[in-house]
Symmetry: C2
Subunit: 560 residues, 2 copies
Amino acid sequence: MGKQKYAIGLDFGTESGRAVLVDVANGQEVASAVHPYGDGVIDDVLPGTNIELPHDFALQNPADYIEVLRITIPAVLRQAGVNGQDVIGLGTDFTACTMLPTDKAGMPLCRKAEWRDNPYAWVKIWKHHAAQPEANRLNEIAHERGERWLQRYGGKISSEWLFPKIWETLNKAPEVYEAADRYLEAADWIVLQMTGQERRNSCTAGYKAIWHKRDGYPGNDFFGALDPRLRNVVDTKLARQIYPLGQQAGGLTPAMAELTALRPGTAVSIGNVDAHVSVPAATVVEPGRMVIIMGTSNCHMVLGAKEHLVPGMCGVVEDGIIPGFFGYEAGQSCVGDHFAWFVKNCAHAADQEEARSRGIDLHQLLEEKAALQRPGEHGLLALDWWNGNRSVLVDVDLTGMLLGATLSTRAEDIYRALIEATAYGTRMIIDTFEKSGVAVDEIVACGGLPERNKLLMQIYADVTGREIRVSASQQTPALGSAMFGAVAAGRAAGGYDSIFEAVPHMAQLKDEVYRPIAEHTDVYDQIYAEYEHLHDYFGRGENDVMKRLKALRGRVQIGD
Amino acid sequence: MGKQKYAIGLDFGTESGRAVLVDVANGQEVASAVHPYGDGVIDDVLPGTNIELPHDFALQNPADYIEVLRITIPAVLRQAGVNGQDVIGLGTDFTACTMLPTDKAGMPLCRKAEWRDNPYAWVKIWKHHAAQPEANRLNEIAHERGERWLQRYGGKISSEWLFPKIWETLNKAPEVYEAADRYLEAADWIVLQMTGQERRNSCTAGYKAIWHKRDGYPGNDFFGALDPRLRNVVDTKLARQIYPLGQQAGGLTPAMAELTALRPGTAVSIGNVDAHVSVPAATVVEPGRMVIIMGTSNCHMVLGAKEHLVPGMCGVVEDGIIPGFFGYEAGQSCVGDHFAWFVKNCAHAADQEEARSRGIDLHQLLEEKAALQRPGEHGLLALDWWNGNRSVLVDVDLTGMLLGATLSTRAEDIYRALIEATAYGTRMIIDTFEKSGVAVDEIVACGGLPERNKLLMQIYADVTGREIRVSASQQTPALGSAMFGAVAAGRAAGGYDSIFEAVPHMAQLKDEVYRPIAEHTDVYDQIYAEYEHLHDYFGRGENDVMKRLKALRGRVQIGD
């Protein structure tokens, strides 16, 4: 055995970037450092200008990503007392679709004096929502043309994804579109900066850019039908060569090595996405085990050996999560956000006082009170659509519902009903996968919620009737990236030759297992049948009251 | 013109009794006094004993009613400096069905040493709910037999009414039933005490004891089908002679005159009920003008010249409100209670703090915030069934629903949606009346809510599309009783010969009128169509999810 070897995982989030230094032999997270982006999420005024942004803009400054490298990598080395020479590989993950236009050399247009004042020259991050008109039109045209790839995405392309965002720029700032040598996912841009290599990854290409391993992108005819100027968008602004996850993108350039105090040539993996890179970090590299990242929203990922079309999912991508498998993704747009909404708007002063006096937060208090009940005891049922429905119905215009209230309904009852509603939503996703041929035998949870809310975990086990285990890492995306970094380095350099090889060494689960309790599951089966009935009644067109109320609301507000 | 003449209205409520001294000439309320019942609502331990009462018992001590006479009548005379000689008449109103067993002399059994320790010998008040099994069985048998009178009561006799309460005693304490010379409504018992005359009133007989002016009581066969021992209950424990409202019951006995500092022989009117006696006090003695008593619950009363069977109402009784008319009653079991529930369970600390710092209560604050919105703006819709549905569906097992919630839904939005839900419930009642031939052209509101919540009043006007006026009196039941007292005295004594004659002199409305605003009504018409649809979907059997959840809740709780 040689000296200890390390890999670094770099996780680029919405507000900050994080580096985690990981021991390649056992996955131990030796050190970590976070750097908040200097310009943060730019949604108000363009930095250094007075230029105000429209309401639904969300931009970033790509220079902030480089700052993350410059600051956090040396910081973790220092913290751990590790020499940069002992870091064998680096992996990165990013939010997505987070995209930017660059010049031929990969320089972001917004870093060039002549484009600095144009918002469309900056990075549009995932939650930039100004391309909704383009997304609507794209979906219309795709439906009219009967584009088969639509089915892989639940029948709907999101305004958050690549082509609506590019088209928006073409419509609003055609000069930027013209000036762009190409468009890149930030996930690929950071790899280009680190290695000098453009290696577009299969994850963002598949989930965000309608790319398919066998069929490639939609045809030029389709893009031409959107706008004649878009006909050749793939060939002129993107690239048709896509690289599967797990490959090495290249070695660290000398300039980057100097910036980060690492060795030039240090292996860098193909880019990845924060959610998807968490899957191997949660020990999952085979079909049948669903990973759920639980936080403000839920993201569900599961692998399959075959391609199935599952209605209403976010996407199925070959090599999209783990090379050699079809990666399936689904999501719930509102989970922790439900509980936060309730606590923010409806938590009672007496509860707040009790929480304060006991030094716990309100969520803990309500969880504690809610945990004293048995399933079915509060008599409530909610539909978890406070922020629309992302899967299975794929409808942002659906809204939340609570039913069963009486004069004896208490705050903790509603809190518990909201937790249960999100569990029913997850079960609906699992059932839909299974009906379509994608097995879900077990669940592995990661993200912020599993740590904080044991009641929620037990309810998910009871409602889904499946065992749930929890990732041992509190920073699964960064750990997953480090694992891919070790794979990029390869066994010869002290790493691993595949992600399958890396997992048993580097990824771990906690010992605790949440097991379904039979008498709970019996009760929840009955309530879930009611949920399913109302889900279909309000969600599949039998009674579109939610949409009508929302439309009415829009008309009333326009009347301002 | 002679000296000023006065009438006294006595309003016997749930927790206390009130006397109001009224100037007969102009209805001015000269003085009022309240006396809380010494034993209050007896729902825990029988007074002077260790005898614990079952959960759903609610009793009173009839001696407390006499105390109200002894204390409040001299108090109002003293306050106003009025001589008892100048009081020409007394009227009374009571909660109902509030009933008691007495001996031949009208002495309550619970006042006799041998029965004092038996809970069934005491007054069962309106909210005594222990007779639910008897009510269920009574309804079953009545349906099986196709009893036509059921239709007059929305198809269901309440456990709060007379015969279930009598039958409960027969089942649980047959010795009390045997010992009772008769059963009386407290409304009639107090009149008996004051005058020595048993004069059963048409209001409680009609609304609470299934009596009909032409058909009388249900047949002895029906009572025999309930229980052979009940076959002759009407003849042995009640009486078939019923007196219409507006008549004189008799004169004050010398003993009562001494107790109250009034003149012996002072006219006393037939007994009445708190809700119904409010109708003339709100100026209504003709068809087409609905009186709504708005408080914790809503009670709707309207007069008709003919008898119509209106589905799902609380009752239609000839002479039940105003002599010569059919009095229709409907109700919503949860109105102010909705708002109180929300404030108690869900009002946020920040709102509580703001209310405190501004010296207003939370209801005022939420009303103020909710008033800033236009109809339809919050996007919410609620079904006002937190306490079941009393009319039109007559179903205690229905529960509340809120739909349309998003992450931007605020406390004041929900508060407003709950107000609107109760307005939709009232519109449903009005529409049902009108479809059945009972006109409702205008609304007169009284009770506690109209004083406190102007937003609510405007919403009711906008939702129902009808003008709403408000009774000038803050104590309409007592004023109504005083009016009937003046009628009992008659014109010769300085009063009036009929309630129709009394109204223009003694009853007044406030100047303010809530008028429907056309653009609000347009929006509310659209939302009401959605309410109606969901009302029928959840309320008429298409989806009985509320009942199934409630039943499941019951099973889970029994599992304790």
